[in-house]
Symmetry: C2
Subunit: 142 residues, 2 copies
DNA sequence: TTTAATGCAAACATTTTGCACCCTG
DNA sequence: CAGGGTGCAAAATGTTTGCATTAAA
């Protein structure tokens, strides 16, 4: 599982597996379908009585992104959000322009198409991100 | 053409069509396949002898985005890039992780697929963006 | 006990804003 | 000439970094 991979990465780099890193890791891999930003992680940990500085949260997030276990995503705001890269199938996000809610979707066909587009341009595709902006079911009513 | 649309928007909002706004507009719609950020626009204008403050550039960019004539795009950096929304066909970007070069691609099939994904979720799609990251032909050689 | 991790505050980078003065309509 | 536009500097945001202290291994 992912925690093991994180620990392995840390020891391979002679880095330390600390309580703080574990808490941040858990907060992202908590299973809830959320895409927290650094501040939200900070807030959630605080509400559980864990005072972790924002600086450390940013440092750990960068570490997790480097390991490849976490993706940094952009919802058109001025800050980044983070999500576990558990689902092997690449997925995109439906972002509601009214309430900000985010819903994931996945579609293998798109993945195939994009790989082919890359090939046509002699471009070696590493990863891709799709953000779809619009209005969710609830907000359309208003 | 787009300049007319910009002028119409300005007068409809009782805003003014100034020399500065025209220069910024031209810099984005210059026809070159570039996706400048605010600072690059500033630099390019300066090199032509036009001293425009960054604040004004940002204000004008926000205005152009609001009119719908310009799109704000994100290449995974800490700042936004801007491009004219001329091409009716939605397109994505191939962003080289090594040299930063950006190449556009378009694919109607993806557009159709995404519209359908929206429908399945009762999500009213407004716009979407696809960024593909990888390595361009030249950088693969290194 | 050695080396990395953390918190804090300061530094940074990008973008926005308040205000005095300037220019367009 | 009235009301919006602009430049400037300061503020606001989000993120990173230097350094002294703390804690893994």
């Amino acid at each position: 599982m992912e925690l093991k991979a994180f620990q392995d990465y840390l020891s391979s780099q002679k880095l330390k597996f600390t309580r703080t890193r574990l808490m941040i890791f858990k907060e992202i891999f908590s299973g809830k379908k959320v895409h927290p930003n650094a501040y939200e992680i900070h807030k959630r940990l605080k509400s559980k009585g864990h005072e972790v500085s924002l600086a450390t949260i940013y440092r750990t997030l960068n570490l997790l992104v480097k390991t490849g276990l976490v993706s940094e995503i952009d919802f058109g705001e001025s800050h980044s959000h983070y999500e576990p890269k558990i689902s092997k199938a690449t997925h995109g996000h439906l972002v509601c322009l009214s309430c900000g809610k985010v819903k994931e979707f996945s579609h293998e066909k798109i993945q195939t198409i994009i790989k082919n587009i890359g090939k046509e341009s002699y471009f070696k595709t590493d990863k891709f991100s799709i953000q779809v902006f619009g209005y969710c079911k609830d907000c359309q009513k208003k």
